[in-house]
């Protein structure tokens, strides 16, 4: 047995699908399951079904690069992600399950005067809104991550960085399972292999969802799925400001621990960390071409490896083990979309782009509160769909870790 075999979580699957629930959550990923978890544990709402077309965590929840951080560039986002980061810090205690949460510190490296300026501004903004980010120089960077080539291959010199000491990673699957188990224990039903094929709406009110296993009535339906959210929302006549782009990543084989921090370059656009299992995990920006395809490309592997080696040349001889692809729902302002829609009873949590994993606890907690109370929690109020109508967008492209 390896030490990473999941040895505690117990998942209980219901046999039958009932004809109606108070709440139906479409999407058995982190956000859907977290919402179910908090509905059950904080609000006592348990007549809930989570519908998952594959297996739980099979979408982006099981494909992301597992970074938890709150070093965002707009106040509303800093507050939200900082809360999420803190919920993550307590999640193991709360669920009694090991999610391999580990604080590592996150380096966002700048290579130009303009890059320095942006990272100084990030540090100032983060501090003002309660997140711990500091601006540091090359020597401190070297002390945190001795493997970094400060000359950047002679081309991308390391001039400074914003350093986010609370930046962490956790095992994505275990986050999903812990939340699923907690929700199930509270009485929530999670149905795998159940595909939503329609949304039934009457006079601007949601009635329920059509699935490949039959119709399910629901007072509240939450769309918490990744990738196909615009096509599902369209079934209720909603047009979401979301475009879906593939996002790829790869891991190397397993090595002894040695890359302690999470390293990201704001100009080379890659980020690298070492998993608990010892793989070096490297990701980069989204594919430019919108697509729903899960096919990995060699162009990505090649360019991402090439860029990572500029700063981390010690990785040159590491063997690549596996690459994979997720599909990201990108909003126009690179911030998430959470809240009600024009269809009564139909809620969305989407636009999770490349930053969904780190938001799982806070997103789930807030959506659960919204479902339970009917009131949008102030933490997520700025992230509603109405911001695109009201000229209150939350542009945070510089924090997305992508372009």
């Amino acid at each position: 047995m390896n030490e990473f075999v999941e040895s505690k979580v117990r998942l209980r699957w219901p046999e039958e699908l009932r004809s109606s629930y108070d709440v139906v959550i479409v999407g058995g990923g982190g956000h859907g399951l977290a919402t179910a978890y908090y509905l059950a544990t904080r609000h006592g709402i348990t007549n809930v079904a989570v519908l998952e077309r594959g297996y739980i965590g099979s979408g982006n929840s099981g494909r992301n690069t597992t970074v938890i951080r709150a070093n965002y560039g707009v106040p509303e986002a800093v507050r939200f992600y900082q809360h999420s980061l803190e919920l993550y810090q307590r999640l193991e205690d709360e669920t009694g399950r090991w999610i391999m949460h580990k604080e590592k510190g996150l380096l966002w490296i700048a290579h130009t005067e303009m890059g320095l300026r942006a990272e100084r501004a990030r540090a100032a903004l983060n501090q003002a809104y309660g997140s711990d980010t500091v601006f540091i120089g090359p020597e401190e960077i070297k002390a945190i991550c001795p493997q970094i080539d400060l000359s950047g291959g002679g081309r991308y010199p390391v001039l400074g960085a914003s350093y986010h000491p609370r930046g962490a990673t956790a095992r994505h699957d275990r986050v999903v399972w812990s939340l699923a188990e907690g929700a199930m224990r509270g009485g929530v039903e999670v149905h795998q292999r159940t595909r939503v094929i329609g949304l039934q709406v009457d006079a601007d009110r949601i009635l329920g969802v059509e699935t490949d296993r039959g119709f399910i009535g629901a007072g509240t339906v939450l769309l918490a799925l990744g990738g196909q959210v615009s096509t599902i929302a369209a079934m209720a006549g909603l047009r979401l400001p979301i475009r879906t782009h593939p996002l790829q990543a790869f891991v190397t084989n397993h090595y002894q621990q040695g890359l302690d921090a999470i390293v990201a370059s704001t100009e080379l656009l890659f980020y690298a960390s070492q998993t608990a299992r010892g793989e070096i995990l490297i990701g980069a920006e989204i594919d430019r071409q919108p697509s729903y395809s899960y096919r990995s490309s060699y162009g990505f592997l090649s360019s991402c490896a090439g860029r990572a080696l500029v700063l981390l040349p010690f990785l040159a001889d590491l063997k690549v083990l596996r690459q994979w692809t997720g599909v990201c729902d990108m909003s126009p302002d690179y911030s998430p979309v959470m809240g009600p829609t024009d269809v009564q009873g139909l809620l969305v949590t989407t636009g999770w782009g490349t930053w969904g994993f780190k938001a799982i606890p806070a997103g789930g907690e807030a959506m659960a509160a919204l479902i339970a109370t009917g009131v949008v929690p102030s933490l997520i109020a700025p992230f509603g769909l109405d911001r695109f109508v009201n000229d209150r967008t939350l542009s945070d492209r510089g924090s997305a870790g992508t372009q």
């Binding site: 003002a128 090649s302 360019s303 063997k319 302002d333 542009s395």
Partner: protein
């Protein structure tokens, strides 16, 4: 000929793989586990010349190699000297992967250009990607083969035994045993198995086998012939592409008996009991079992365990689960091999790059260009602009010619300012808006004739602007000709109170007035001279053919040698323009910066016919303003750009630009501030000090100096 293994000399025969040479010397490469010699299992992984996870059975031994055993996870290297990796892109009609019998037959049957690769020749196919594109690791470097069609003839892998003791040395697959025998290696007393035994017996090395019926056989080696499973990872990876799978790789493959005990996944050390444990707790999907145990996620990516996992699940479900998704890579490559052929984004150099270096400038990258950030005498840069004359390299500006009968209409519909009333010879500053009314760029419109215009854009926005203008011209269906001149024209900004004098000295007497332009020779070099001001002093932008830039720069330098002429870089320019309150797109503006938020309502003429962004402005202008970019000033040194504006105890905004102004003797800033009921605080704290709202321009508000 020999290599070393953990410091010990190992001699080898020509053509031996490392694994064969080690086995010949009586050494199991990893200490134990069934050897396949087919590249399918993790039981021969070693470190070769510092590179871990090398399949020693697929690697030809070479004299002088330093081979080390790899027990457990290898350490991360501390540093690595990256050897260049050769890479070649090749094109063919057909690529055949595998040159066993099926692969050779496929090759014989086809016409057109055919490329074939075979692991036996050291050509390891690491993946099939869209295209199709087949990536191959060869002894001579990486090969990227692009083709119309791929035939996968990768054969089959032999089943590995799953039972206690399977990690002993001395266990071989049938094919491995044949290879060893033909290499002249004696396996001693052997037992041949066609069914999984109860267990292997021995300490370190197998000494016996206990069969299913309990009987025990003594031996020196065990040869297992348990069945074949299609080596179909490439075929599965290529699903949906033009791929055909032939031979053993295409056979259905019978599931082995469900594993009962022992190690299922040797890479991740997953036991059957681990599968039981997670299965019993509800992990009852192939992917969930895999993710909960990590079975199949190690080096061989399911090569050994996948059939057994499927069999395990099949025994507990109504049907056998399909294999899990095959993801690249199937055979491993190093990161530097993966990076081979990738080129980093290029940086552009202006036509004056060498001049800046000659002058001792510190160069920085900005908007994709190398630009002088500072020259050695920083104070002189600023002083020259404000009191004498200075040169700035603005060749990076976006530059474009637009001509044709539709030119006026195109620009009227593209820009939020008026264009039609601009006279030939006139210059107008203009914002560029997107459909949402957000400022995406700014620059100048210079009218050359009734139907011809010269436009400038920001350095960083130039390539986007070209696309933008072309797209709209096409969308509007207008009859125009568009030529991007960004990289063909250099530009030098001659600025300062003595700029006119400098121009006169170079033979230009008829200088354009403020906001006008003219074509004239400067020091014999044809220039479009554009008169405006970003620095706040009299300024002439000289746009000229890039091949004459150095000549022009030097002529200007020489002409100004007696009047304290000194060039200025970006850093000084940022101070100079901030004193004038000029914002910079992307530095001071944000994604959602409307002209109203920037305090530039005058730049969008809502009374003119439609332009890109007008409808959005009409709509959003009705919404109360929530933030504005405004000017601030404070005593003492400039706080860090990005500092927070604090009012009371609450953050109310953020500084975008802040510089100490030598001429004003105080710090001037631009910063975003939140509005409530259309108001914002006049006084805030920045960096623990008081900053006051101040109207900008901070310097020469009437603009007399610039109009000179």
């Amino acid at each position: 000929m020999s290599f070393t293994f953990d410091g010990r000399d190992i001699s080898f025969a020509p053509g031996d793989s490392i694994a064969v040479a080690l086995l010949r010397a009586g050494i199991h490469p990893t200490g134990g586990g069934c050897i396949c010699l087919g590249g399918d299992c993790p039981h021969c992984l070693v470190r070769v010349d510092g590179v871990a996870y090398v399949r020693s059975c697929q690697t030809t031994a070479a004299a002088g190699m330093v081979v080390e055993s790899q027990a457990g996870d290898p350490p991360l290297p501390e540093s690595t000297v990256q050897a260049p990796v050769e890479v070649r892109t090749v094109f063919a009609d057909l690529v055949i992967v595998g040159q066993g019998e099926a692969g050779r037959r496929a090759a014989a049957d086809v016409s057109g250009e055919v490329l074939s690769f075979d692991a036996g020749r050291g050509e390891e196919v690491i993946g099939i990607y869209a295209g199709p594109m087949v990536i191959v690791r060869t002894p001579a470097g990486m090969v990227h083969a692009r083709c119309q069609r791929v035939i996968v003839a990768t054969g089959a892998a032999e089943e590995q035994p799953i039972c206690p003791g399977s990690d002993l040395a001395g266990i071989f697959t049938q094919r491995a045993a044949e290879k060893l025998s033909s290499a002249g290696i004696d396996l001693g007393r052997t037992v041949q198995l066609t069914q999984h035994p109860q267990r292997f017996v021995g300490e370190g090395h197998v000494t016996g086998v206990i069969l299913e019926d309990g009987s025990r056989l003594e031996c020196d080696s065990v040869i297992v012939d348990l069945g074949l499973h299609p080596r179909d990872a490439l075929a599965r990876m290529g699903e949906g592409l033009e791929i055909e799978t032939v031979g053993e790789a295409a056979m259905p493959g019978e599931l082995p008996p469900p594993p009962l005990t022992g190690t299922v996944c040797p890479c991740s050390k997953v036991e059957v009991s681990d599968l039981d444990s997670v299965w019993d707790r509800g992990f009852q999907e192939m992917e969930l079992v895999k993710r909960a145990t990590l079975a199949g996620t190690g080096t061989c990516q399911g090569g050994v365990c996948l059939p057994h996992l499927r069999s395990y699940l099949a025994a507990r479900q109504s049907q056998a689960p399909s294999a899990f998704t095959a993801r690249p890579v199937t055979r491993q490559l190093t990161m530097s091999e993966a990076a081979a052929g990738f080129d980093l984004a290029p940086f552009r150099r202006t036509s004056l790059h060498q001049e800046h270096l000659r002058l001792g400038a510190i160069m920085d990258r900005f908007g994709g260009w190398w630009r002088p950030w500072r020259y050695p005498d920083v104070d002189a840069e600023y002083r020259a602009v404000r009191t004498a004359a200075s040169l700035g390299d603005v060749g990076t500006l976006g530059k474009m010619l637009v001509a044709g009968p539709g030119a006026v209409e195109l620009l009227e519909r593209l820009y939020p300012c008026r264009v039609e009333d601009l006279k030939p010879g006139g210059v107008r500053y203009a914002l560029l808006l997107d459909e949402r009314g957000y400022v995406i760029d700014d620059g100048l419109i210079c009218r050359l004739s009734d139907t011809r215009f010269f436009l400038t854009f920001t350095s960083g926005g130039a390539s986007f602007a070209e696309m933008w203008v072309r797209d709209w011209a096409e969308t509007f269906g207008l009859d125009v000709r568009i030529l991007d001149r960004t990289m063909s024209l250099g530009a030098i900004n001659v600025t300062g109170p003595r700029a006119k004098e400098l121009m006169n000295r170079l033979g230009v007497s008829d200088l354009p007035g403020y906001l006008a332009h003219t074509q004239a020779d400067v020091a014999g070099i044809p220039c479009r001279i554009i008169r405006l001001s970003f620095t706040g002093e009299v300024s002439f932008e000289l746009h000229h053919p890039v091949d004459r830039s150095v000549e022009l720069w030097r002529a200007l330098e020489a002409a100004g040698s007696d009047i304290d002429l000194y060039p200025h870089g970006l850093d000084a320019l940022f101070t100079l323009r901030l004193e004038k309150g000029h914002f910079i797109v992307g530095m001071d503006s944000e994604y959602d910066s409307t002209p109203r938020r920037l305090g530039l309502e005058w730049a969008a003429r809502l009374d003119k016919a439609d332009f890109v962004g007008k409808q959005a402005l009409l709509r959003t202008n009705l919404i109360p303003l929530n933030k504005r970019l405004v000017g601030w000033e404070m005593d003492g040194p400039a706080p860090v750009e990005g500092s927070i504006l604090i009012h009371g105890d609450a953050p109310v905004g953020q500084v975008t630009s802040s510089r100490f102004s030598p001429v004003l003797g105080k710090t001037v800033m631009l910063g975003w501030v939140r509005l409530e009921d259309d108001r914002f605080p006049e006084e805030v704290q920045v960096d623990g000090r008081v900053a006051r709202h101040a109207a900008h321009p901070f310097y020469d508000p009437s603009g007399e100096r610039a109009r000179g």
